[in-house]
């Protein structure tokens, strides 16, 4: 009696297990994306939040650092050397250093990621400012700009293309690096990847990995578009 009842309740698909069941364990499975939509969206949102927070923090710190390095050339090699040293440390080993201060929180991951992005950004900012032609700088002085005015209205805008190239590199690698935050359970899509490895759940870890790459591409395109809006002269002259 019970057997027949089950047979009528179950849809015909019950004969073959869903493509993400442990028996089949397919790599690509839309059923999984459909069934776990909430979980996937939550992870993606966390991933984006951590990435964007780290990038914003890095830009905010990189600006004064680059300015200091520029104003006091003696400090430049020190600042660059220190940030390169930080970059040498693997991400998995960098996060634990913040643990005693910020604990098992998203802040720990954000701080670590910001340090990596910082290395790229300070360098890009200095390269960008250095790329401003001397005669342009002299013309600005000749037009009556003070040091601050020239920096804000002449040098920074002209440094923007090189800086944005650095920001693209920083953004793409930060998206990828955020996954390592899974060590602290704040890795966005990295959490899904880690769970997928632990449970041998192929659909979960491949979906998360692909989403991660897509997220990086999306952010890259967004930055390129922003740059086109901010620096209309760069593509106007090339046409």
């Amino acid at each position: 009696m019970r057997v027949t009842l089950l047979a009528t309740v179950m849809p015909p698909a019950a004969d073959e297990p869903s493509c993400y069941s442990a028996v089949v364990n397919e790599w690509w499975c839309f059923q999984y994306v459909d069934d776990r939509r909430g979980e996937i969206i939550d992870a993606t949102v966390q991933h984006l939040q951590i990435t964007v927070a780290a990038l914003v923090l890095a830009v905010v710190i990189a600006l004064p650092l680059a300015m200091t390095a520029r104003r006091f050339p003696r400090l430049e090699s020190g600042i660059l050397g220190l940030s390169t040293a930080v970059y040498t440390i693997p991400s998995l080993a960098l996060f634990p250093f913040f643990l005693p201060f910020t604990g098992l929180t998203a802040t720990t991951v954000v701080l670590g990621l910001a340090l990596y992005a910082l290395t790229v950004l300070v360098r890009a900012m200095l390269d960008g400012l250095r790329a401003v032609p001397d005669d342009v700088r002299e013309s600005a002085v000749g037009l009556g700009y003070g040091p601050t005015g020239a920096l804000l209205r002449i040098e920074l805008p002209l440094a923007l293309p090189v800086f944005m190239a650095g920001l693209r590199i920083a953004a793409v690698s930060t998206v990828a690096l955020t996954t390592v935050g899974a060590l602290l359970s704040y890795g966005g899509l990295g959490n899904l990847i880690q769970h997928g490895v632990a449970r041998n759940f192929r659909a979960e870890l491949l979906t998360a990995s692909v989403l991660c790459v897509l997220l990086a591409l999306l952010l890259d395109v967004l930055i390129v578009l922003t740059q086109r809006i901010l620096t209309p002269w760069t593509h106007g002259s090339r046409l």
Binding site: L80, T84, A85, Y87, T88, I89, P90, S91, L92, A93, L94, F95, P96, F97, L99, P100, Y116, T119, V120, R123, A124, D127, R130, A131, V162, A165, G166, I169, V172, S173, T174, V175, A176, L177, T179, V180, A182, L183, L184, G190, I193, Q194, G196, V197, N200, R202, L205, L206, A208, S209, C212, V213, A216, L217, D220
Partner: protein
């Protein structure tokens, strides 16, 4: 803070260094992995990139492979390799559990910086110098061996240096997928809520990374045929070209 005390004690305890799962064994394991992967990547990447650079072909691929390498999370690739039927988690010779999967991932992630930098290095050799060599009657291979290669060497070495940093970092992340290496001290410590151990592992990993980076910096200085009074990182050519190169072949993600 007691966490620092735990870290200090773990580092000083001889027991945490010795034995099957001791840090010395894991350090050796990760070092062997790093060296093998770097040599593999060099033997694949250098001939391809240098040939392409000499012929002036395939620039789009050589430059963009670094961008692709940055966008793919090392963790994700390791996860896919370990979960797949091959290479999977099988123990592989001296490389430990999931050794083959780790080795494949390390080699793949070492390739982009090597290829991009070696290609750019050969392309950045001034055209007039190459023309002068041809004008003196040098054949293609002679030009490559006696003119292009020596002038490109500093930038090639800086690519190898980036690759080394990258490989060491990836080898550490292998622990997140239950792979070999020192990263296991970090993940084990975190899994057991024994944060002192996790931080101790991080200290050792970071220390070795800095030593490797320092040693390769000295090596790079030795490879420069024209010693500079104030060497700029990542530049073998005139300093005004350096920013362009460093933004093309800049640091990869790890």
């Amino acid at each position: 803070m007691s966490v620092f005390g735990d870290t200090w004690n773990y580092l000083l305890d001889p027991a945490s260094w010795s034995g099957q799962d001791g840090m010395l064994t894991l350090l050796g394991q990760q070092m062997v992995l790093t060296v093998t992967a770097l040599l593999l990547a060099l033997s694949i990447g250098l001939p391809v990139a240098l040939t392409l650079g000499h012929l002036g072909r395939g620039g789009f691929v050589a430059i963009n492979i670094s961008n692709v390498g940055r966008a793919v999370p090392t963790f994700a690739l390791l996860a896919v390799l370990v979960t797949a039927d091959w290479p999977g988690t099988a123990t592989f010779g001296p490389y430990g559990r999931a050794g083959l999967a780790t080795l494949v991932a390390l080699t793949l992630f070492a390739l982009p910086p090597i290829i991009t930098n070696a290609y750019a290095a050969v392309r950045e050799v001034p055209a007039d110098v190459v023309q002068a060599a041809v004008g003196m009657g040098m054949t293609g291979p002679q030009t490559f061996r006696r003119v292009e290669l020596p002038l490109a060497l500093p930038l090639v070495v800086s690519g190898i240096r980036l690759a080394l940093v990258q490989v060491w970092a990836t080898a550490t992340i292998a622990a997140l997928v239950a792979g070999p290496g020192l990263g296991r001290v970090i993940t084990d410590g975190f899994a057991a809520n024994y944060y002192g151990k996790g931080i101790a592992g991080a200290v050792v990993v970071a220390g070795v990374a800095l030593v490797l980076e320092g040693a390769s910096a000295l090596l790079q200085r030795a490879a420069d045929p024209v010693p500079r009074t104030r060497p700029t990182r990542g530049s073998g050519q005139s300093s005004d070209r350096a920013p362009k190169i460093s933004s093309v072949a800049g640091p990869a993600g790890h």
